[in-house]
């Protein structure tokens, strides 16, 4: 490097550092483009009918996504109700009881499960629930979403339980209460913010999931008919409507995208404001 001129080195330095700044700017511009376009298209397409009416057949003007909004709420609730106990208990086990080996095995499985493509989870749910029960169903979709959410809840619960200082455990046990009472009464409340954060991140994640719903929830023209029947969902309807040739449906897809974006990004921002932690 001795023969390299100082001026040239400075120039390379400045060029490369600028490129890095441009790269960071580029990612943010892409976000702004997607957000901005969805916002503009969504707001112009969103009206009261969209929220209050059921879907109409193709070609007929009007109609809305009342049933799909309701369906998404049901599916997300179902996914959360199934994944919360599993994830929380698994997190408690790894943070409080497990030896190092089994803890690593569970953590590793959770990380790998989080990396399984969601479409594969959908095929799995189809194989274990839809086919044996001979019907597409809200239940099978809820289970598929729960499988996606479990690793998120488990890892965040475990991490936040570990952050509870040891003297709190010792203080609780020193009062003479049993270990499980200490966990339920002292340690979980201490980690509650983190646990709630994990659940919210999971909700944000599964609310937008589409791939596992295509052949579990299927979609429904008859509204919500119970957990063992097909059910519609917002992301599913966005996909269907976007791929259709009908411009009316395209507008509705944008309105739905706007609504979904509001929900998902709202939760994501809230989570970060509350806890300043990251999702990845």
């Amino acid at each position: 490097m001795a023969d390299t001129g100082y001026g040239r080195r400075k120039l390379i330095n400045r060029t490369m550092l600028s490129l890095c700044a441009i790269a960071a700017g580029l990612s943010i511009i892409v976000l702004a483009l997607i957000l901005g376009y969805t916002l503009v298209q969504g707001i112009s397409s969103l009206d009261i009918d969209f929220l209050m009416q059921a879907a109409k057949p193709m070609g007929e003007a009007g109609g809305g996504m009342r049933d799909e909004i309701f369906g998404t709420l049901i599916l997300v609730t179902l996914g959360t109700l199934i994944s919360l106990p599993v994830g929380l208990m698994a997190g408690i086990f790894v943070a409080e009881f497990a030896g190092p080996r089994i803890a690593t095995a569970v953590q590793f499985s959770a990380d790998i499960l989080a990396g399984v493509p969601s479409i594969v989870v959908g095929v799995f749910a189809y194989a274990v629930l839809v086919r044996p029960m001979h019907s597409y169903s809200a239940l099978s979709a809820g289970v598929a979403l729960a499988v996606i959410m479990i690793p998120i809840v488990a890892r965040t619960a475990e991490e936040s339980l570990r952050l509870v200082p040891n003297f709190q455990r010792e203080a609780a046990l020193a009062l003479g209460i049993t270990r499980w009472r200490a966990i339920i009464g002292v340690i979980i409340p201490g980690a509650l913010t983190g646990i709630v954060t994990g659940v919210m991140l999971g909700v944000a994640r599964i609310a937008g999931e589409t791939a596992p719903l295509i052949f579990t929830a299927l979609g429904s023209q008859f509204g919500v008919q119970g957990l063992l029947k097909p059910i519609g969902a917002l992301p599913l309807q966005i996909y269907r409507y976007a791929m259709s040739p009908d411009p009316d449906w395209h507008k509705q897809a944008w309105a739905a995208a706007f609504l979904l974006m509001l929900l998902v990004l709202g939760i994501s921002i809230l989570v970060r404001v509350v806890s300043r932690r990251r999702s990845i």
Binding site: K10, L35, V106, S109, I112, V116, A154
Partner: protein
């Protein structure tokens, strides 16, 4: 009285025995679930595995009427679109991560990180919607028509500019993995101890030389892990790709051509598949995808974990 209120007594001790086991059952459920997915996919794919055996992986025909199923174009499309995404995403993510960790003023760090992470939170189907109506027209003209006229002698840039196809899918996938690779790379970079930087700067190196020769080599395994995790995500990404790749089923070097990935094939056809062999073939596709992402993710996790272990040991 004291006994009851403090939770002593038989019931308390019994619960103390049961509770850890109960949590263990749920923890093991995660391991069982992972194994269960593998087993169930194998069982359901078995008719196709038995009928086609290895020809499934090398045949290029996908004919539900004649019941001939080969996965090669889908496998090829998955790899092509994901590699394309990596080629676009890696330089951008690395640059953005270097900016966030090394260059950014303190006040900008938080907001800039937040924005890039919000990009990761946008549902795939919305990115696909944007891709279909905004990106695809731009890809058709000017991007593809320009590439075709200037670089048309290369096999990658031949054929009519459709807009939908591998190129659009690659760009969309890049957008989706940039925030992931950026966030993980930034973590890897900020795990490099400051003495390393200070030593290099004290020797008279410029900031870029410090980054290039000290910081990047120091956390190489973490950076590679971040890229491989991004790759794993790209391989399995479904909705956005399905919406912009155009559902063609052939082997071609042209990036302008409509194509298929494993995930988009399953998404497009699973609900309509009628015969048992058809479904089994689609499940076998899912199995192939599962196996590939499993290997990729295990490698990536081991790399990332090694790095964080080093970091924790130091702290």
């Amino acid at each position: 009285m004291l006994k009851n209120s403090s939770g002593f007594g038989r019931s308390g001790h019994l619960a103390d025995k049961i509770f850890p086991r109960l949590t263990m059952v749920f923890a093991l459920l995660i391991v069982v679930l992972l194994a269960g997915i593998l087993i169930v996919l194998n069982i359901d794919a078995f008719p196709a595995i038995r009928k086609f055996w290895l020809s499934f992986l090398v045949s290029t025909s996908w004919d539900p009427v004649k019941e001939q199923f080969g996965a090669l174009p889908a496998i090829y499309g998955t790899l092509l679109s994901s590699l394309l995404a990596l080629v676009i995403a890696v330089p951008v993510s690395l640059g953005a991560a270097i900016f966030l960790s090394e260059l950014s003023p303190r006040w900008l760090k938080g907001p800039a990180s937040l924005l890039i992470e919000l990009l990761a939170a946008i549902p795939s189907v919305i990115i696909g919607l944007w891709g279909l109506f905004v990106l695809v027209p731009v890809v058709r003209n000017p991007i593809e028509s320009w590439l075709g006229s200037k670089l048309g002698f290369l096999p990658f840039f031949q054929g009519p500019p459709f807009g939908v196809g591998f190129l659009a899918a690659g760009i969309i996938l890049a957008i989706m993995i940039i925030p992931i690779i950026t966030a993980l790379s930034r973590d890897a970079l900020s795990a490099v101890p400051n003495q390393q930087r200070e030593a290099m700067l004290a020797l008279g190196a410029t900031r870029w030389e410090t980054i290039r020769r000290t910081v990047l080599p120091y956390c190489r395994s973490g950076l590679i892990g971040a890229m491989i995790l991004g790759l794993g995500r790209a391989l399995g990404e479904t909705m956005a790709v399905t919406m912009v790749i155009g559902n063609g089923y052939k082997l071609t070097a042209s990036l302008f051509s409509p194509g298929t990935t494993i995930a988009s094939k399953i998404a497009a056809e699973f609900a309509e598949a009628d015969s048992q062999l058809f479904i089994a073939s689609l499940v076998e596709l899912a199995l192939v995808l599962f196996a590939v992402t499993l290997v990729v993710n295990v490698i990536a996790r081991l790399l990332v974990w090694r790095l964080t272990a080093v970091k924790e040991a130091r702290e």
